[in-house]
Amino acid sequence: MSNAFMNNPVIKWIEYRLPIFSFMDESVGSKYPTPKNLNYWWTFGSLAGIVLVIMIATGIMLAMQYTAHTDYAFESVERIMRDVNYGWLLRYLHMNGGSMFFILVYIHMFRGLYFGSYKAPRELLWIIGVFIILAMMATAFMGYVLPWGQMSFWGATVITNLFSAVPLVGEWIVQWLWGGFSVDNPTLNRFYALHYLFPFVIFALVFVHLWALHVHKSNNPVGVEIKGPQDTIPFHPYFTIKDMVGFGVFMIFFLGFVFFAPDFFGEPDNYIKANPLVTPAHIVPEWYFLPFYAILRAFDFNILFLPAKLLGVIAMFMSILILLFLPWLDTSKVRSARYRPIYKQFFWLFFVVCILLGVVGGKPADHLFFGLIPAIYVGKAATAYYFAHFIILTPLIGWLEKPRPLPDSISAAVTKSGTSGQGAGS
């Protein structure tokens, strides 16, 4: 921060007692050294942070008007849409903000996978990130129940019922989650309470995520550690302004949906009030859960004494939890896929498989692709590949692949690639 600012008597008085200004300057300001070659893929973390704040802000205002009761929840949401000043805007921001949050975080995660951001010494940074996505999923799931539409109700019924697969205590766990013998008013009430709590848990996790980030600083597209001041530039103004460009583009995308296609990510069925006596023809979760839904449904067979349902549930949770072990499953010391010709191919294949799982997850179980290939087989193959990618391919590629020679340093890479047009986003 400028000398004039720090010499202001009021600032000095506060700084002496609570060094908040120097703290900020060292965290996201001119004293925070950042690799000079970060490209726009590195803006998605800060964008996700901004969306978290937007979600909390709009969520608190929605909570002022929302009624968590099975008799009134649906109507109270419609009251927000029709009678509360700019209630429709708050609600559409919150509704689409959820989808945006997942888009940003999924891109953020794939960026980490591509550039090897999970490798030593950033394993804990990555692991905290896995906990953040888990907390996000729990929050999103419970939030989707609150409008008490048909998909809210039946989605909640299907997902909470999964826990009945747990041996011996399954039924008991489900009733404990429900607070009764079916998804009903007590369920709605506790989901509302937890949906209000979890964002603050996420906020705390994000703080720890940033703390860990600031110890070893950002990874970068080259994947070579910072070797000295010649490799870095101050976060402010270089990355504050670069993040703002990303923010502007993102807001155009986000608000484009809010204002012109607000129900794009939603299901029409959720505009029908929940009715325990009428099951929708096709129960689907929100789009960001579809790949996991496909993994869950891929298990329609028992293995020894393990029933299909339990296998599906275990696989679904493992599909996220396996990321916790990725820093050790990846045996390559080279971070960036730019220098890993084989891994790069498999990264993109893995990306396509994830999309494919999402497509399969959105289909009825008996759907035929091209009227020929049963979706369930595609789901099984994709699920098998998903896990094989982490358990078999990732360690194997690390051992067998011959990486391309790494540049000596970030600045060496920047000057070299600057001429070849492979510039790292500047």
């Binding site: 029709r82 270089y238 029409p268 497509v359 759907h367 091209f370 500047s426």
Partner: protein, 252 residues
């Protein structure tokens, strides 16, 4: 290679669109005044649609989420709204003696529901419940196109080989093709105040416009504000990008 895999996945995503048609025939696309970035509700159609709703639909279907006063948003005058509301009787109370009483509806009341409760609605309709129409346009795949298609998609005779259940009607666009609601619209079923010829297609179109408004009363305000917001954001982002270029220039 990457491209082939990606296009295969895309194809799979698209192939599902055609499969969805098995729920009912593919919906013909209509040209709606309220679609598109600058879309607004056609006021004349919306007025005619309200008339169709009041004279036809409202004998069975409620509109519980909409108040008479909401009609102000689409340029009905205060007096018109009072007059429309006053045509309905609603139950109020209890009064000072503890008795419930009926009174003419006020602009602040929700559209009067034809039935006292869901059981009464079922009892009058062979056990079928006529759904509330407030959100109908948003609550079905295909939205306005779907509603229009169902209203115009009745066939007097079920095609050969289709066995209709007792009291059901054949509709080519309704999922499963069997709908409890008898064809609601008939030629000249209403006499339009503005002299428009009341064909089935015309009435279906008009009432769909009205119900599209009922489902998304914020649509016009939303799109108006959206244009301003996006214009602002595009200019702002352009300026921020220029500043970014300037700040980063000294690094190269």
């Amino acid at each position: 290679m990457k491209k082939y895999i990606l296009s295969a996945v895309l194809m799979m995503a698209i192939s599902s669109q055609t499969a969805m048609a098995s729920e009912g025939a593919a919906l013909p696309k209509q040209d709606w005044s309220f679609s598109g970035v600058f879309g607004t509700f056609d006021r004349a159609a919306l007025r005619r649609g309200l008339q169709v709703y009041r004279e036809v639909c409202a004998s069975c279907h409620g509109l519980d989420l909409v108040s008479y006063r909401h009609l102000r948003q689409v340029d009905f005058s205060e007096d018109e709204i009072k007059e429309i509301a006053a045509a309905y009787e609603v139950t109020d109370g209890p009064n000072e003696e503890g008795d419930m009483f009926t009174r003419p509806a006020l602009p602040s009341d929700r559209f009067a529901n034809p039935f006292a409760n869901a059981n009464a609605a079922r009892a009058s309709n062979n056990g079928a419940f006529p759904p509330d129409l407030s959100l109908m346009v948003k609550a079905r795949k295909g939205h306005a196109d779907y509603l229009y298609a169902v209203l115009t998609g009745y066939k007097e005779e079920a095609p050969e080989g289709v066995q209709l259940m007792e009291g059901m009607n054949f509709n080519q666009y309704f999922p499963g093709n069997q709908i409890a609601m008898p064809p609601p619209l008939s030629e000249d079923g209403v006499e339009y105040a503005d002299g428009t010829k009341a064909t089935v297609a015309q009435m279906a179109k008009d009432v769909t416009v009205f119900l599209a408004w009922a489902a998304s009363p914020e649509l016009e305000e939303r799109k108006r504000l959206g244009i301003k917001v996006l214009f602002f954001l595009i200019v702002l982002t352009g300026m921020v990008y220029a500043i970014k270029r300037k700040i980063w220039a000294d690094l190269h």
